[in-house]
Structures are given as C-alpha cells and as structure tokens.
C-alpha cells in the first residue's frame, strides 16, 4: 500500500482511482473528511446535549438519527458518534462545553482518528463478509454497528441495501483498504 494515504484527506479521492479500486465489483472510495466526535454521557443527561446539538439522540444501539445538522449514531449504552460539518462541529463543541457542570459528559474530537470508506454495489455484503463476522444481511438501512474487519476495529453504517460506510482508524486503513481491494477484484472475477 502506498504511503500516500497519509496525505491530506482532500487529495485522497484522486489517489483512489490510481489504485484501480473501481475495477472491482463494488465501488470503493475514501470519503472526504467530516467532523466526528465521540460523545459519552449518561442517558439521564441526554436532553441537555440534544438541545446543544439541535438533534434528537437515539437510545437504541445501532440506531441513527439524521438531521440537517448531521448524524447522531448510538454505539453503546452511553456512547454516541456525532458526524457533522467542520463548522457545525466547532459550534457543537463550544455550546456543549458550557454545559459541563450541570450535564457531566465527554465530547472528544476524533475527526482525524478515523477515515471513512464508502462501498457501493450489489455485492457489497459479500465484499464486507471477507473480513466482517457479523450477519450483515440482518443489518437494516440507516443502522450502525461497531464490529471488526480482519481483526481491525471498525464502525459500519448501512446507508442503503447496496451502500455501506466503514469507519476505520487512520493507521489501519492501508490494511483494510488493500484487503477490500483484493477481495473486490476477486468478486469481479467471480461475476465474470
């Protein structure tokens, strides 16, 4: 895997094409960066946060709330992933920081910790099944799961029946990407 993946995010989409990933059965791309936060708070204090970020906060693990401000994804009993624009992100962080004393919580910027791979195509589940042990067919649209891919921690989001997003830690990306790419070519060979 080339070193280029550590270059600023903006240039990556271009690199992608050079790597021949689109020859596979599934369209693979590295998505542009967004602001992401790890939100930790007790459910009893959830309302305060919801007001600050101007979005409902889902309480079922895997559930995702999408609003014009971004997405709020429940990953655990007291853990959420917030996705939004960089500008919105700054505002959210600011308005939440004024809450601290009344609403004990932790909101940590992880925008650079992870990168997101977009996968689109009818064979997307087969592609992911190369490394992900969960039953992906049972995942409903607009649902997220924390899982693993070939031993690497990921967060999966099913956008549509043929469309997934995979969040992976930055340094794990080359490993995950190259395996997906290899398997994608394998799938294409199967279709032929």
């Amino acid at each position: 895997m080339s070193q280029d993946l550590h270059m600023p995010m903006e240039s990556r989409t271009v690199l992608n094409l050079d790597r021949g990933a689109t020859q596979g059965a599934v369209e693979m791309e590295l998505l542009d960066s967004a602001a992401r936060f790890n939100l930790r708070v007790s459910v009893k204090h959830i309302e305060g946060i919801a007001q600050c970020i101007g979005s409902k906060i889902p309480l079922t693990i895997g559930q995702c709330e999408t609003s014009e401000n971004g997405q709020v994804i429940c990953l655990g009993p007291d853990e959420w992933l917030l996705l939004t624009s960089e500008e919105n992100g700054r505002n959210w962080a600011k308005s939440c920081s004024s809450l601290s004393a009344k609403v004990p919580h932790s909101i940590t910027d992880i925008s650079d910790r992870e990168v997101t791979i977009g996968l689109k195509g009818t064979a997307v589940i087969e592609l992911l099944s190369v490394g992900c042990p969960i039953d992906l067919e049972k995942m409903k649209d607009n649902v997220s799961r924390r899982s693993v891919f070939d031993g690497v921690q990921i967060v999966l989001h099913r956008c549509a029946f043929d469309h997934f997003r995979v969040d992976v830690w930055r340094s794990f990306l080359p490993h995950v990407w190259s395996l997906l790419n290899l398997a994608n070519l394998e799938l294409a060979a199967e279709e032929n």
Partner: protein, 998 residues
C-alpha cells in the same frame, strides 16, 4: 485407448475430451472424470507405493476416504501439490500427475525391499529398535527416520496462488447432498429459511449419482435429482456449493468450509483464489454425510485391483468406467451384490461372489442366478496373487473357524465389502457423545452438544427411502426450530437397494497367521497382526494401540481403518468395542491446504502494520525502520555512507548541540474526561493528581495489582475535568482496556469517560537548546517563554494556524516540546518545521537516538528496563508514588514482604573499565567471575549504548541490592572474556538537570 469405458454409461461429458499425463505418459479422459476414473478407463489401477513397505497400491475408493491413490499433481511452476487424492482431483487439460514414494519407477521400486523385511518391521519397530545406544539418536536414527518418513515430497517453491475467505450466515447448513441432504434441503428450502448445502464432490447428488436404476416418485433417479436441484437453484434462499468440504465443526454452530475454486479448470481466471475458506455461522446444522464402506481384512487385501464394491458401482454408473473384465467379489454385506449385478449387465464377467455369510436373501440369489453369477457362501479369503495387479484370489469354505479346501479364482479385479461405517466425523468434532450399536457394529451419534441433527446413512440405517425420510424430518425440524413453517413431503422409492450384512473380523486363512499380510490401515501399512501384537505387548486402550501401530494416523485419519482396527483390538482383548474405546476425530475432516488456513494473511497482508502520518516522509529520506508493537517506526536516518552507529552518533550529537526532531505519533493517547476525572487518575496511577493544576503535566506511573510497573507516560491536565494521558507505544490498547475494566467493573460510580485519541494527533517532539527558538514563531495564543511556559507545562494553542496541544517536557534531558496537531496535518507541519529549522541545523532522529538520549539521563523504558517484576522502588521511582493517597492500583502489593525487602534487584548504572566496550543487553552480571559454575547471577544488563555525549559506553542494569553497591566492581562473563564494570548512579548526563531550563 479407453478400453474400460462403457458406452452409454456415466455422467462425464463425452463431447469434451481432456488430456492429462500420469508419470509422463499422456492419457485422455472426459470432463467430469476424476484422475482415478480416467486412469481406470485405461485399465490403470497401480497408482502408488505404500508408505512403509513400498507395496504396489491401487485405487480403493471413489471418494475422500481414499488411502492409497495419492499422487503428486502439478499445474505449472509453483503449483505442485503432494498427496492429492486421485479419487477427488478432477482432470483438466494440462494436469500433470505423478506417483509417489517410489524409486526409480512405480513398477520397480528399490524401497520394496522393506516388504521382504517386513517380519522385522512389526508394530513398535521404531520404539524397540532405535532405543540404544543413546548417542546414535541425533546423528543416525533421527536423520534416518526423517528421511524415510512422509509420503510425497513437500513443495519447495513459493505458492503463487491466492487463498480467500468469507463469513457466511444461514438458518440451516446442510452437509452432504445425497438423498438425505437433498430431502433436508427441499424441506428447509421450501420453508423460506436461508439454507446452504455443501458437498465435497464436483456434482451434487451423492449416492444418487451411483444408482441410476432406482426411481424416486416415479422418476428415474437422475431425472428426479435434476428436478430437485433445479428447484433448489431457483430458490433465492438456497445456496448450493459443490467441491466444498466441511472440514471442521466448531463451537456454537461455527463450521469451516473449504471450497476448491480453480483446481478443476483448464485455465486459471485472473484474480480468482485457488480455494476459499467459508466461516459459516449456522442456526441449525444438518449432517447428512452418509456412510463409508468398510474394507474386509484378509491376507493380501492390498494389491492393485482390489477395491471397495461401492466404489466400483460408482465408477461404472457415474463415470462410465468398468473397473475390470474378470471380477471376483468378496463380501459380508448385500451391497456388493448390487455392484456385481450392475457390472455383469455392463459386460464384465463376475467370476464369483464369495460371501462370509451362510444365509443370503433369496432375492439376491435369484438375481445372481439369472445373471449366471456363482455365489459361494460361508467363505473366507486365504490369500491373493499378483504383484502389480491382482491375478487371483483364493477362497475357502469356513468350517469351525478353519479354511477348508481353498479354491483359486482367476480375476483382474477383486471387489470387497465389509459393510458400512456411518460417517460421524463432524459430529465427533462437536464432542457429542457416541454409543456403540451392537446390531450395525458401529458407533452412532448419541447425545448432541450443538444445534445439529443427523440423517440418512450416518444414523446407521441403509437405503435411499430411509435417507429421504430422515432427511425430510431433519430439514423440517431445523427450519421450524428457526421459526419457519414447514410441510412434509413423502417420497416413494422403487428399486431401493437397502441391504444388510454382518460385521466380520480379520478373515482366517489356511496359512499361519504369522505369515499373512492382512491390511487394516492401507496408508500406514498396519496389519491385523500388528494390532494383535500391540495387544500382546500390553496395549489396552485403542488410543495406545493406535499410537503403537500408527493405525488410523495417516492422512485419511482412519476413515477405512478405525472400526476394523477397533474390532480386532477388542477381539484380542476379549472385550466389547466400546470398552476399548474409539479415538476422537478432530478437524480437519480431510487433508486441507495450509494456504486455505493462511488465507489473506500472506505477503503484504501477512500482518497488520501501522504507520504514522509522518512515515511517508521518513521513507522518502531513506530512514531505516524498526517494528515497535504493531507500528513501523523510523529507527535512524542514515546519510550517504553512514552505518547505524555513525548515524546515531550524529543524531545524538546534533540534538544535544542544537536541535533534533522526532516523530512520537505512536505514543498512546487517552482522553480522560468527566467530573470524576481527577479521582479516577488518583486511583489508576501511583502519582497524586489532585493538586496538579490545569496547564501542568506530570510523569505518571501505572502498576498492576501486583505492584509491578505496567506502563508510564507524561500526563497533562487540560482542565479540572480533562486529562490528556500518554502511554507507551506498545501499551496503548492494553492501558485503555485496563482502565475501562476498572471503570466498568470496580468503579461504576465514577462519572468519567475514556476515549482513545492515539490516532487523532500527530505528535512531534522537538528537543535541543534551540527548541524554543524553532517553535516560537509558529505558536499563536500562547507565550512559550521559560517563565510563562515552564518545564512540565501543557496548553492548547494554535500552531501554524492549526489546533494544537503543546507540551513542554523532555525525554532527552534537553529543552523539549511535544506538539500534537490533527493527524492529517502531521506531515505538513513536520516539513514546515524542518524548513524553519534549517538555520539551527535541525536533525531528524529515530528511535535508537531517542533510546540513547534517554538512557544518558537514566529515564527508563517500560518493557526494556522493566520486565513485569520491577516495582517503582526497584526502578528508583519511589518519588512518583503519592504517599498520602488512600489507594491506587497496586498500592496494597507495595507493602508485601517480598516487595519491601531490601534484597531486591534495583536499577543502577554500569560503566565498563574499558570505555570503548559496549556490553551486550541481556548479559548476566556476577560478583566473582572465578566462582564455580553455575554462578550466582546478580542481575542483567537492560540497556547498553555508546554515549556520544560522554564519549564512552554506558549501561543500565537490574542488580541485586544494586543501590548498596555504588562504586563496586562487578563482572560480566562473556564468551570472549570477562568484562569488569563499575556500579554507578543511573543518571549519566547532566544530573543537575540544568539543560532542561536553559
């Protein structure tokens, strides 16, 4: 010339001829043939030599259980496989096969001398012979045994193929696609359940493929099969997989499948893997694995041309190949009659059927009579003749256990059947219990440990009607247990060849038992004589008999030999078989390639390797890297002509002189946030945190409950309720897990949350007298002067316009800063700093220089200077313990008598008498080098380097009562001499710390 191909018979494609070679000779077969069926069509039975006695051997079976017909196959360079089963390998254009275990040729093999020597090579031969003299073992016996061992040659080239893997989830997994599996599939499939059907053969259908004379529901069996498969293929919820072996059944219905993807193709498609490992998680598993025919154990039962009757039926009906022209049959079971009848009607002459039983059904006798086949009852087999192919078999009437008036039958082929053994291998993997069934003389499944059920012949009942019926039940049960509505279908079978038989031991001969060779395990050359000998020599359990004789220990895992071996051992012991026991079958079910198990974990994908955002820059500069836990870190940056030592010397010199820059991004980082953050830190780390003001940082020490050092790092307090914790590179995930463990199980009342930020930040360490001069112009919103931003400070600011967490700290003893910027900008900031640092002769340095610089200051590295048995006091870090704190992880252990004992190893410095000698890390230290061995070791060297700053070597060591030995001379015995060393303080450079605050 395919003289044994029967026109109008079989399922191979006569319009698609295929050419292949065997031992260099070209042969022709048809698409759909296995190597075995194609060779049999040419009358070739001899395929290899046996393992121990090098006896000529031929094809015995038509399936996965084949013990003899193992060949080497080659497709192209690198694609050589030893021990391929000729009965499974499909032929393709260009396939090259060769026989194994013979020299110089298959027909004349020098190793055959072992056969003549066989009276001296009995069971336990190796154990008895190679015992003494002891000194012969290493040089003579072991090399000899190793050279003689193994069938085939291990490949020497790198395997160019890819191996793939996938996870698969289904409601019902059905293993086996014979009548039982198909009935289960039809029932479960129609219910709408998601089902997967696997079969190891290239075609689905199992036994049905071998019996076209049968009719199911008024249809010829093959028409019925085609309709059933078409229906299943039309169902979206059904996945049919041929050439796929369920090799292992693991916990909670996790079943491993090996799918052969390309081994049958003329041309390899681009990007296709050779094999794919499917990791299936099934709601229910239906095991429809059928039964394996049991050979008869008689004198000379291993000659080429002797095969199982069922296999002959398969070769005839499925492949259109008649296995011989003059065929004799010996049997203790009805099923051999059916094979004989099919062959007789296809033009082969059945010399006779010799049956061990006296009472045979009238129906069979009448049919035999109609086909003019002589049936001999109450028979035994005395022996056979023929070296490379059977020529005759001698049968005799068995009278009170004695073989009377033997009669020789000329033949070119001998079919045998000792009945059938239910295939319970996968069931056995689940550790489900077995019970001995007296009637069928076999082990049958008893208590289930997994959500599975068995059906068909694996239950010990024969016939297609039973298979369909039990398969239907199994399919319905599995689907309905998974919540689907099912409907029962009743099948009607005509011409069902149910059959029955008796179970027999090794057949008596008219010659002395000591002179017979009645093989139980063909592949490992184990005879019934060997098994009886093992019992005479004291083996009581089948586990011992197995290991003493190697019965069942070959690549076929005793598929043919286990039950015969057990029954003979039980007879010799005069016990019932279950009292002697059955060995456990373990995965894999049949030989499976290493490639499949390795899967994607090869070459670049072999192991996950993590790289920092600055890695690409270091690589471009020609840095040499070293692995540190999962990461690759720049070790040193050699300039042209420099070796490691010169590069490290230069990096050390330039950093201390002016300015060094270091990529510290791999350090673990944990954000600890919440109103109880400080309480959490107090409990976790040894140090006191309450009075640490926001904007300050402190060295933190983490212990295990045992009081030993686990991790360390500098921790900054960013706000009353927020800490930025750093950990060692290798400790990052371990420390976070340990913290979460305490938080979630011990201290659930604390309102504090942990988030890994290791990869959020790129971390750049700037060290040297010019460190501040370099960074100052980049910093916005913070005064970094010595007064306002003193040593051990932390602040959030802007750096080059980017959000930054700036630490003032030092792991070198020089003025130092560590800046954390969002990871995506790491390389950009790094390069800007290098550009700006040119005027200070900025020097990028690697982990080796970092190690030297810290050792000069006596700073420890957890995992190098500690080994899991070092306390804070041992390491000279008592100052890092909050003495007034009520508790912290490990506090109680620090009061244990052995921990407070003064007689512990302590970290000290060592200076060699010869300043140019750098001692070896790990070297042992003694007080008196002249003492007799074994010497009393006082400790060992943990770190050792050339110190450029001091112009001499330095070392750190853990030494018994080390701090009381200051100034003492100790000794390091090395192969090239004894090295005297003086014990010193562990801080070698700038002990007053003046350089931290220039």
């Amino acid at each position: 010339m395919e003289s044994f191909r029967v026109s109008g018979k079989g399922r191979t494609d006569r319009n698609d001829p295929v050419k292949f070679t065997f031992d260099g000779k070209e042969y022709k077969g048809f698409r759909g043939d296995t190597l075995a069926s194609a060779l049999l069509a040419h009358g070739v039975h001899l395929l290899g030599r046996s393992f121990k006695y090098h006896r000529p051997r031929g094809i015995v079976t038509a399936g996965f259980e084949e013990p003899n017909a193992l060949v080497g196959t080659r497709r192209s360079a690198g694609r050589y496989e030893p021990n391929t089963r000729a009965t499974i390998q499909e032929i393709y254009n260009g396939l090259g096969a060769e026989s194994q275990n013979r020299f110089p040729s298959l027909k004349f093999d020098i190793g055959g001398i072992n056969d003549t020597l066989s009276p001296f090579l009995s069971a336990g031969f190796y154990y008895k012979t190679f015992m003494w003299p002891r000194s012969f073992w290493d040089k003579v016996y072991e090399p000899f045994i190793r050279a003689a061992a193994g069938l085939g040659k291990a490949p020497t080239e790198i395997d160019p193929d890819n191996y793939a893997s996938r996870y698969l989830h289904c409601d019902v997994l059905i293993v086996g696609s014979g009548p039982a599996g198909l009935a289960a599939a039809l029932h479960a499939g129609r219910s709408g359940a998601k089902i997967v059907v696997v079969d190891e053969h290239n075609e689905l259908g199992g036994y049905i493929l071998s019996d076209p004379a049968m009719a199911i529901d008024g249809q010829v069996s093959w028409d019925w099969l085609q309709a059933a498969l078409e229906e299943l293929r039309g169902l979206e919820n059904v996945k049919l997989m041929s050439r796929t072996t369920a090799f292992g059944y693991y916990h909670q219905n996790f079943v491993g499948l090996c799918q052969k993807v390309t081994d049958h193709l003329d041309k390899l498609p681009d990007n296709a893997p050779r094999e794919r490992n499917w990791r299936v998680r099934a709601g229910r598993v239906v095991l429809a694995q059928g039964a394996i025919e049991k050979p008869l154990v008689f004198n000379g039962n291993d000659r080429p041309g002797i095969m199982l009757a069922g296999a002959a039926q398969t070769y005839l009906n499925r492949f259109g190949v008649k296995v011989g022209n003059n065929i004799a049959v010996v049997t203790s079971h009805d099923s051999a009659y059916f094979a004989a009848f099919d062959l007789a009607t296809s033009g082969a002459k059945i010399v006779a059927i010799a049956d061990t039983r006296s009472n045979i059904s009238d129906v069979l006798l009448a049919k035999a009579k109609a086909l003019k086949i002589e049936v001999l009852t109450g028979q035994t087999v005395c022996g056979t003749t023929g070296r490379l192919r059977i020529k005759s078999v001698k049968v005799a009437k068995l009278d009170n256990g004695a073989a009377n008036s033997p009669r020789s039958l000329s033949c070119d082929t001998l079919l045998m059947s000792g009945g059938w053994t239910p295939n319970i291998h996968l069931f056995s993997h689940t550790k489900g219990s077995l019970k001995w069934d007296e009637q069928s003389q076999s082990f049958l499944p008893d208590h289930l440990t997994e959500d599975c059920c068995l059906c068909g012949a694996s239950l010990g009942h024969w016939g297609v009607s039973f298979a369909l019926e039990s398969g239907a039940l199994a399919g319905n049960r599995a689907a309905s247990e998974m919540g689907f509505t099912t409907e029962n279908i009743v099948f009607n079978v005509e011409n069902d060849r149910v059959g029955s038989g008796e179970s027999v031991l090794d057949l008596p001969s008219n010659i002395s038992a000591q002179k017979t060779k009645s093989f139980v395990d063909f592949q490992n050359d184990v005879t019934s004589k060997d098994i009886r000998l093992a019992v005479r020599e004291g083996m009581r359990s089948i586990e011992h008999v197995k290991r003493y004789t190697t019965n069942g220990m070959a690549t076929d895992q005793g598929k043919l030999s286990n039950v015969n071996g057990l029954q003979i051992a039980a007879d010799a012991l005069d016990k019932e078989p279950p009292q002697v026991g059955l060995t456990t079958f373990r995965p894999p079910y049949s030989p499976t390639t290493f490639g499949m198990f390795a899967g994607y974990q090869r070459a670049a994908g072999f192991e996950l390797t993590r790289k920092t955002p600055i890695h690409s820059w270091a690589a471009e500069q020609g840095a040499v890297f070293e692995p540190v836990s999962q990461w690759m870190r720049a070790w040193y940056f050699p300039k042209s002509g420099e070796g490691m030592h010169d590069a490290v010397k230069r990096e050390c010199r330039e950093t201390r002189k002016s300015l060094g820059i270091f990529d510290a991004s791999t350090l673990g980082k944990i954000e600890v946030v919440g109103p109880d953050a400080v309480e959490f830190m107090n409990r976790m780390y040894t140090n006191p945190w309450t009075k640490l003001a926001p904007g300050r940082c402190r060295y933190g020490l983490l212990l295990g409950e045992d009081g030993f050092i686990r991790d360390d790092g500098v921790i900054g307090r960013l706000a009353d309720d927020k800490f930025h914790v750093t950990t060692t590179t290798g400790g990052a995930s371990r420390v976070l897990n340990m913290m979460e463990d305490y938080l979630q199980t011990e201290w659930t009342e604390l309102q504090v949350w942990l988030t890994s930020t290791t990869e959020q930040w790129a971390t750049i360490a700037i060290n040297g007298p010019n460190a501040r001069n370099l960074i100052e112009p980049f910093v916005n919103g913070l005064d970094v002067s010595n007064d306002l931003f003193p040593h051990m400070s932390v602040a959030e600011c802007k750096f080059a316009g980017l959000p930054c967490r700036l630490f003032r700290l030092s792991f070198t003893g020089e003025l130092g800063f560590e800046l954390n910027v969002p990871a995506r900008y790491g390389r950009m900031v790094w390069e800007e700093l290098l550009e700006a640092g040119k005027k200070y002769d900025i020097c990028p340095y690697g982990t080796e220089t970092m190690h030297v610089l810290r050792a000069e200051k006596g700073y420890i590295i957890v995992g190098q200077d500690t080994d899991g048995t070092v306390t804070p006091d041992d390491a000279g870090l008592s100052w890092a313990i909050g003495k007034k704190k009520p508790d912290f992880v490990g506090k109680r252990s620090l009061a244990r008598p052995d921990i407070v004992s003064p007689h512990r190893k302590q970290l000290v410095g060592l200076l060699t008498d010869d300043p140019n000698y750098v001692v070896e890390e790990g070297a042992q230290i003694v007080a008196d080098p002249d003492q007799p061995t074994p010497m009393k070791m006082l400790g060992h060297v943990t770190s050792s380097y050339w110190s450029e700053a001091l112009g001499r070597s330095i070392a750190l060591a853990l030494v018994l009562e080390g701090r009381d030995r200051m100034g003492e001379t100790l000794f390091i015995p090395m192969p090239d001499g004894v090295i005297p060393v003086a014990v010193t303080d562990s801080i070698f450079y700038d002990p007053a710390g003046d350089r931290l605050n220039p």
